[in-house]
């Protein structure tokens, strides 16, 4: 019971702090999962990464984290806690937005949030990269994938699966 409340508390707070989308809260999520649920940084990055193979919003990975902490109940609690609070807020903000109309402060807020969102997303990249780029092999794989993402239109899922294959191949060759 306390575990459920803790899960709900942590993820609803993350939901409301997710300024600029899900990857902005990755660093906070990692440290909270570590403090409250003894989640290792490696487990966190693995859960995040395999979640990228599914369609839909990339932050659905949080369900894997919930599942690892307390099975399907954990996943359900995390899903509700992570998606409902921000959605309620957005629903009412959307209705208010059109009523308030075009104020100069709204533009200011949008302009102010952009660099903060991107800064937080960079922190998200750092959190994931720090745990995943651990040797020259993983750096090489990341570089190759990044290059293919920029230069071609190959679906990222194929590249992620391919990178998993390279990891496996590397293990057999070593």
């Amino acid at each position: 019971m306390t575990l459920w409340l803790q899960l709900a508390g942590v993820f609803s707070m993350l939901s409301l702090l997710a300024v600029g989308g899900g990857s902005a809260v990755l660093p906070e999520m990692q440290s909270m999962l570590h403090h409250h649920f003894n989640f290792s940084a490696t487990e966190f990055v693995h859960a995040y990464s395999v979640g990228q193979l599914a369609p839909g919003p990339n932050m659905l990975s949080v369900l894997i984290m919930g599942d690892m902490i307390d099975g399907l109940t954990g996943a359900l609690i995390v899903a509700l806690a992570f998606f409902i609070p921000s959605s309620i807020l957005c629903l009412y903000a959307g209705r208010l937005w059109t009523r308030i109309g075009d104020t100069p402060w709204r533009h200011s807020l949008q302009q102010a949030l952009e660099p903060i969102s991107i800064g937080l997303m960079c922190s998200g990249v750092y959190t994931i990269a720090k745990e995943s780029l651990v040797n020259w092999q993983s750096c090489a794989v990341a570089l190759l994938v990044g290059l293919l993402l920029v230069k071609t239109k190959i679906n990222p899922v194929i590249l992620i699966l391919g990178a998993g294959g390279i990891g496996l191949l590397g293990a057999y060759l070593a």
């Binding site: 939901s15 997710a18 300024v19 989308g21 990857s23 660093p27 906070e28 990055v45 693995h46 859960a47 995040y48 990464s49 395999v50 979640g51 193979l53 599914a54 369609p55 839909g56 919003p57 659905l60 990975s61 894997i64 690892m68 399907l72 998606f83 921000s86 959605s87 807020l89 957005c90 903000a93 959307g94 059109t98 402060w105 200011s108 807020l109 302009q111 102010a112 949030l113 952009e114 660099p115 903060i116 991107i118 800064g119 937080l120 997303m121 990249v125 959190t127 995943s132 780029l133 794989v141 990341a142 570089l143 990222p156 899922v157 194929i158 590249l159 699966l161 990178a163 990891g167 590397g170």
Partner: protein, 193 residues
């Protein structure tokens, strides 16, 4: 937003809303979900027009939460009120949720396997590259301007190097950014900086 414009578009049923968002939620492998939403619901079905979509996108980016889920909420609300909003969000999330849980199950079953760490190492490296590319593309404009770059770097440093909690980082960066981008007297805030 719910009441606005309800006369201009034909009544779209909750079932239709759920189903179309479900389709997007099921086919949008590899991210870029906002583009899928735009292509299907704006360009093809014309549920909302392009201007409305742009407003929805900017609300989604301003409010916390995932952009795609926020757009689903706003579009559902615009079409069928609060129930439409929840139908859209549920449809968008459901297929991915089921698939992600299956992947999680596979991961849970195999995580002790000696080869698992090698596969996951490759997968994680690729996921890092993907996130970095997405961030780079979204941030292109922000990186190029001095003021916004300074705010970006400040936010990053406070979060990742100083390692303050997110709410503290926001409590510092947001007022500062609002001050920098405050409305000017003569007209709306400058677009160039």
């Amino acid at each position: 937003m719910a009441a606005k414009n309800s006369a201009t578009s034909p009544k779209i049923s909750l079932h239709q809303i759920f189903w179309q968002f479900f389709v997007v939620g099921a086919i949008s492998f590899g991210g870029g979900i906002v583009a899928y939403l735009k292509e299907l619901l704006v360009t093809r079905y014309r549920w909302v027009d392009n201007d409305e979509f742009i407003v929805m996108l900017s609300i989604s980016q301003t409010m916390p939460g995932l952009n795609s889920v926020n757009i689903a909420i706003l579009m559902g609300d615009r079409l069928r009120g609060a129930l439409g909003a929840w139908a859209a969000a549920l449809g968008l999330l459901l297929p991915g949720a089921v698939i992600v849980l299956s992947i999680g199950l596979l991961y849970g079953l195999n995580r002790e396997h000696p080869m698992a760490n090698h596969v996951l190492g490759g997968v994680a490296a690729a996921a890092a590259a993907l996130l970095a590319t997405v961030t780079w593309n979204l941030g292109e404009r922000t990186f190029k301007k001095r003021k916004s770059l300074a705010l970006l770097v400040l936010t990053f440093v406070l979060m990742s190097i100083v390692k303050w909690p997110l709410y503290v980082v926001l409590a510092i960066a947001l007022p500062l950014a609002l001050y920098i981008y405050r409305p000017t007297q003569d007209h709306t805030p400058e677009q160039s900086s």
